[in-house]
């Protein structure tokens, strides 16, 4: 592991999301070099660290809402280790596309996916039940219904400019204030 630095640490995670918000983070292009000067990544899909190592993080960026027990556990872990938590994107804020299942019961949803769906071939009707698989929540929940979230960056995904704007503001100790064209729900 690299020598310890005093740079603020930023952790990121994709819960029930599609990694589109992380793609949008990478879409800040050459500003990634500036970002590398400013911060140290803690656990994140970008460096593939899987867990916190006990050091405080200045900012945690949460993509995706909570669809299962694992999402809730990871989100609570982020809340424990990060000074500021930011919901990034529609799924973290509203549940997004995964929340389309909220209008039907978990039972109906599982049945459609593994038994009765038009393209499903499962003659024995076997359902995934490995103990390693996290159990689904009754419905997909936005992150702020599970833990305290400090700021929200809407968008599907939020644009690279939105993420850059908010992240640089937070690193300078200011709350993110998005100009009109950067608040978008799509």
């Amino acid at each position: 592991m690299a020598a310890t630095s005093n740079k603020p640490r930023v952790a990121t995670v994709s819960l029930a999301g599609c990694f589109g918000c992380h793609m949008s983070l990478l879409d800040i292009d050459e500003r990634l070099l500036d970002l590398a000067e400013l911060i140290e990544f803690d656990r994140s899909p970008i460096n593939d660290y899987k867990s916190f190592d006990g050091r405080r993080c200045a900012v945690g960026l949460i993509e995706g809402g909570c669809a299962n027990e694992e999402n809730v556990r990871v989100l609570r872990d982020f809340r424990t280790h990060c000074d500021v938590l930011v919901s990034v994107g529609a799924c973290a804020i509203n549940g997004g596309i995964p929340a389309l299942r909220n209008m039907v019961s978990v039972e109906e949803c599982i049945d459609e996916a593994y038994r009765s769906g038009l393209t499903v071939v499962n003659p024995d009707g076997i359902l995934p039940d490995d103990p390693e698989l996290p159990r689904l929540l009754d419905r997909v929940r936005p992150c702020h219904e599970v833990v305290k979230i400090d700021y929200h960056l809407p968008g599907c995904p939020p644009s690279a400019d939105t993420i850059w704007n908010a992240l640089t503001a937070l690193l300078s100790g200011a709350p993110p204030e998005l100009p009109y064209p950067l608040i978008k729900y799509d």
């Binding site: 389309l100 209008m103 929200h152």
Partner: protein, 235 residues
């Protein structure tokens, strides 16, 4: 009888005509009062409550309240703007508003108001109600998930198209738009040219095969907020 009178909106004296509503006088004077269910040319409904203003300390809907001489109207106050913001947030959590795949995104007045008020997340828990889609008509789609019960289609179909295809049914949380047929829209005489299709502020009543035509960045509310000067009022 119709001699011009003067009212005051946020300390600005505004000319008005007896018979006008506060909203009409404000629009004529170039003062924006946020609104959602109001449509020029349709009978005011007063349903969404976004245009609530204070007159002599009492709250009233600017779209239904007639002007009176020397009326003093408060519009742009912290309290009213906060209440409007809360109404917008409640409308968002009450329905299923998935902007990311909605054809109306970028041209939706509910979304545009949320942008204008700088809403980044609703403060209320989401309902996720189970609502239907009526895609029976070959040219027209009704998506109840997005309906905010503004009665725009009800009024336009009745008063502009003379068809009365849409009406309300149910009460309270069960209130929804119904069509004038045994079952679905296809059984009505709804037509793709109906004016009722032009007044839906959200993506609940849509012409099929017209979505996503305008590129992102060029849609009506992409660059400038609803109610700003370069947002011409819809006819």
């Amino acid at each position: 009888m119709n001699a011009p009178i003067t009212i005051t909106i946020d300390g600005v004296e505004v000319p008005a005509t007896p018979g006008q509503t506060i909203l009409e006088a404000a629009d004529a004077a170039g003062i924006y009062i946020p609104r959602l269910c109001y449509r020029p040319g349709l009978e005011p409904y007063g349903g969404c409550r976004v245009c609530m203003v204070h007159v002599a300390g009492r709250a009233c809907a600017a779209c239904t309240q007639p002007v009176s001489p020397n009326m003093v109207v408060e519009n742009d106050t912290g309290e009213l703007q906060e209440q409007r913001k809360m109404i917008i947030e409640m409308l968002f959590v009450e329905g299923n508003h998935f902007c990311m795949f909605c054809e109306k995104s970028g041209n939706c007045e509910l979304q545009a108001l949320a942008y204008r008020f700088g809403i980044t997340a609703p403060r209320f828990d989401l309902f996720f109600p189970k609502r239907d889609v009526d895609a029976s008509h070959p040219e027209i789609l009704i998506d109840h998930n997005r309906c905010i019960l503004c009665a725009g289609c009800v009024r336009a179909s009745r008063d502009l198209d003379g068809k009365s295809i849409f009406h309300f049914t149910g009460r309270g949380p069960d209130r929804r738009i119904a069509v004038n047929a045994e079952a679905q829209l296809a059984a009505t005489d709804a037509d793709v040219t109906d004016r009722a299709l032009d007044v839906c502020p959200v993506g609940a009543l849509l012409r099929k095969r017209e979505g996503y035509r305008t590129p992102v960045g060029q849609r009506p509310y992409d660059q400038a907020p609803i109610g700003s000067n370069d947002q011409p009022e819809e006819a």
